[in-house]
Symmetry: C3
Subunit: 359 residues, 3 copies
Amino acid sequence: MSASHAHALAHAVGATAEEPKFPLNQWYVAGFAWELKDKPLGRTLLGKPVVLFRTADGKVAALEDRCCHRALPLSSGTLEEQGLRCGYHGLLFDATGQCLEVPGQAKVPTKARVQAYPVQERDQIIWIWFGSASQPQPTIEPPAYEVHSSGEYVFEGGIYHYDAPYQLIHDNLLDLSHLGYVHLRTIGGNASVHMNAQMRVESDDTSVKVVRHMPGSQPPPTYSAAYPFKGKVDRWQEIEFLVSHLRIWTGAVDAGTDALDDPRRGGFHMRGFHGVTPETETTSHYFWTMATNPESNVEEVKAKVVEQTALTFDEDKVVIEAQYKNMLGFGPRPMVDIHVDVGANRARKIIERLRLASA
Amino acid sequence: MSASHAHALAHAVGATAEEPKFPLNQWYVAGFAWELKDKPLGRTLLGKPVVLFRTADGKVAALEDRCCHRALPLSSGTLEEQGLRCGYHGLLFDATGQCLEVPGQAKVPTKARVQAYPVQERDQIIWIWFGSASQPQPTIEPPAYEVHSSGEYVFEGGIYHYDAPYQLIHDNLLDLSHLGYVHLRTIGGNASVHMNAQMRVESDDTSVKVVRHMPGSQPPPTYSAAYPFKGKVDRWQEIEFLVSHLRIWTGAVDAGTDALDDPRRGGFHMRGFHGVTPETETTSHYFWTMATNPESNVEEVKAKVVEQTALTFDEDKVVIEAQYKNMLGFGPRPMVDIHVDVGANRARKIIERLRLASA
Amino acid sequence: MSASHAHALAHAVGATAEEPKFPLNQWYVAGFAWELKDKPLGRTLLGKPVVLFRTADGKVAALEDRCCHRALPLSSGTLEEQGLRCGYHGLLFDATGQCLEVPGQAKVPTKARVQAYPVQERDQIIWIWFGSASQPQPTIEPPAYEVHSSGEYVFEGGIYHYDAPYQLIHDNLLDLSHLGYVHLRTIGGNASVHMNAQMRVESDDTSVKVVRHMPGSQPPPTYSAAYPFKGKVDRWQEIEFLVSHLRIWTGAVDAGTDALDDPRRGGFHMRGFHGVTPETETTSHYFWTMATNPESNVEEVKAKVVEQTALTFDEDKVVIEAQYKNMLGFGPRPMVDIHVDVGANRARKIIERLRLASA
């Protein structure tokens, strides 16, 4: 068993108090822009219950989801011009967590405030900063994601809740060889083609990139349904792991046309955003969008691609949750590594290093 | 965080063995008279599984809900002329817990008996005594509740099961200022009127009384539906906390007519009985009746008042269970007190003192 | 409380690490022959998740239900000519647990294998051996059960999952006096007849036999529905406890005709097989068949007998699960023994001795 796997299981049982459970001093995905309308939204992120909402001027805010009076979740409250009002006794809080009003009494107690979290909306993604004690405020901007805003792509997305730790989702996304067994009916295609694909793995201190090329292969069902390929295709899969999220750019050109390494390659593109945010040590949020570039029938093709993507995510969820349940049932046990694990194992090393470094 | 709140949370995690978990040497509500007909009723009270039943002469009885032979709940058994017969091997027990018969063997083993609890029916409420080791038998009569028997009121009731400790229900009932935020659609009315109501709190060693007057206010929807008020009303709320239950007498007269402090005041009355009995340290039974005094259309008005009352109790249950779930999620944390907490805090002190005194 | 009851409860909370939790070096029922077709079957037995399947030549195989690569249950995989393929990354395992193929890489890692369990199919029952460290391989053949294969009987069966430890099911089956209270509507008949039946208990180191005769009794509903008795009947109940299963041979002849002790007695026969296999220390599998010998309307009578049997098992499940839940609620407490417990208590002594002896 690799050290990081052992750690993941140890965490599931009970972690030490001193070490952070997740890498801190990071922007994590808290949600999507379109989730925040006229109601507050409660969501537990990195073990902390948070209420997300928009202020009257449209800015996003994030507070600890607990009224300082009697602990009701503030996400049960209502939005007003000045902020968020608790649904029990009506205490009113602004975006900084300051209590502005205690109904029925003139003076607001000085201790009446709740913690606020740094939060930013960028390219339709809402990012939240979980800092360490020594670095509570963000030191960098949240990541850009131009795919959402460049106009080159149409996209849609969704959110999954996983009864499994977040790193099992990383493992899954960093190793697309499972497509041939888990996603046979959609984006999978021939299993042995996937398993025997040319693979290149690069990494640095905070990212891993896995590139796989499958030249001269049969287009899988989703591809054929979305794009008028003439016959065999040259497929690529580019997976970038970036601690808080993964960017997966897959696609295909008609076999022997464009160079797969050229980012301006034509053909059919699927660009996936995969925000993987721990809910707790044993459960996760998975925020995804899928963008594509149809040449015609844009809405129809987009709907088809998104539908097929959601189907594969359903399949992954079943597998990953079964995997985690089995890991819990068996307890810590050695695991045998195979060739496709290279990328996932590097990502686990990065997480582990950043986790320990953020104490 | 007040000491009693800290204690409630500590209990949720694991209490010390020596101290009683609840005030003992008290009558608690076990149920209502109409619940006990021709079948035994199993109910856990103060952490103890109890079977309640009526003997052939109509008296109520309460035994430990566990056959002394192989531990089947006696509440799965059947009532006979002589007592309660276990549904597994047929052992027969009388109201004192004595085994009268072991089918198929001549002699009843001397150890074949189960614990009986003192229980009394009074004014349609079934009261059970949980004594301490030094005071196992009741030293006083169970409380009277004439509202059920005087003939001045019509009433109905119900039972809620709460996934929350009983003191959170006390808190809720002792502070009716939440009506303006939680019960806007029924008995609430204007929030700021509630929050700014004149409030008087009195207490002694075993009770707390909170009186709130809201003169010249708008009648809330339930009131208007039940009584032909001419316009604005003078409202009163009288809340009596009595360890095992609360009595809440609310109502209104046409503004400027009767004195609110006069118990013979006219107008519209709602008299609530609220028996709050711990099921366990983290769950509760809530036994309620609502009595009223319609001048005409008695059944119709009663049905409306009871229906509206049940609606508000539904709303409270949602809030209180969400509050407790959040308290568990966050763990012990300070709470900021505000002016409306005076009554609830006094009640917590009484409970704490009686709990420790009943060791 | 008897020592074995105390032990059962201690186990429910947390057993010592050194002692085996169940008697090892035994064949246990893993399933029925007809359960294994073209899909693998996952089932936890004695605390161990196992995948059962048939190889291409029809033989049964049992492996640890966990891929050695990333812990997915192998029971989520698919059957192929050469064995069982994992549903995540496609590792292929044979019936011995050896990994035959890692897709996409030439060499199979030497550590790539999973544990296999000895398993045998006999008389339509699938038996699995759970050995101790010193005796991992079976030393004896699994038990024969000719009732399934002799052609004298027709039979059907089923499987129940119990939220209760397996010994509570033994207790229930070894004491058929409960028929008069639990199974009044089916095979029970008159309660006092059951409780006052002549009973003989014999036992040796690994088995207990309880024989009860009820001469001159009224045939119970199931009997009358299945066989043309002329009036009163002489009934017998023969219960054999054999650690991993019980064989219960009940029936009746017209009163005063055949000798009840003669195994060639005529009349109406019900021969029950009851494989009771611990799933965990607190949950169980109950594999049963019921065989009978109708003189005419064979299928119709069989269907009726099996249906009535299933009804009684439904009733037992309700009682036993309620009993266990109550035992957990009350914690370890003394139990009063009565005369009908003799057989069950001897079985508990056998289990306890074999459990400790298999360390």
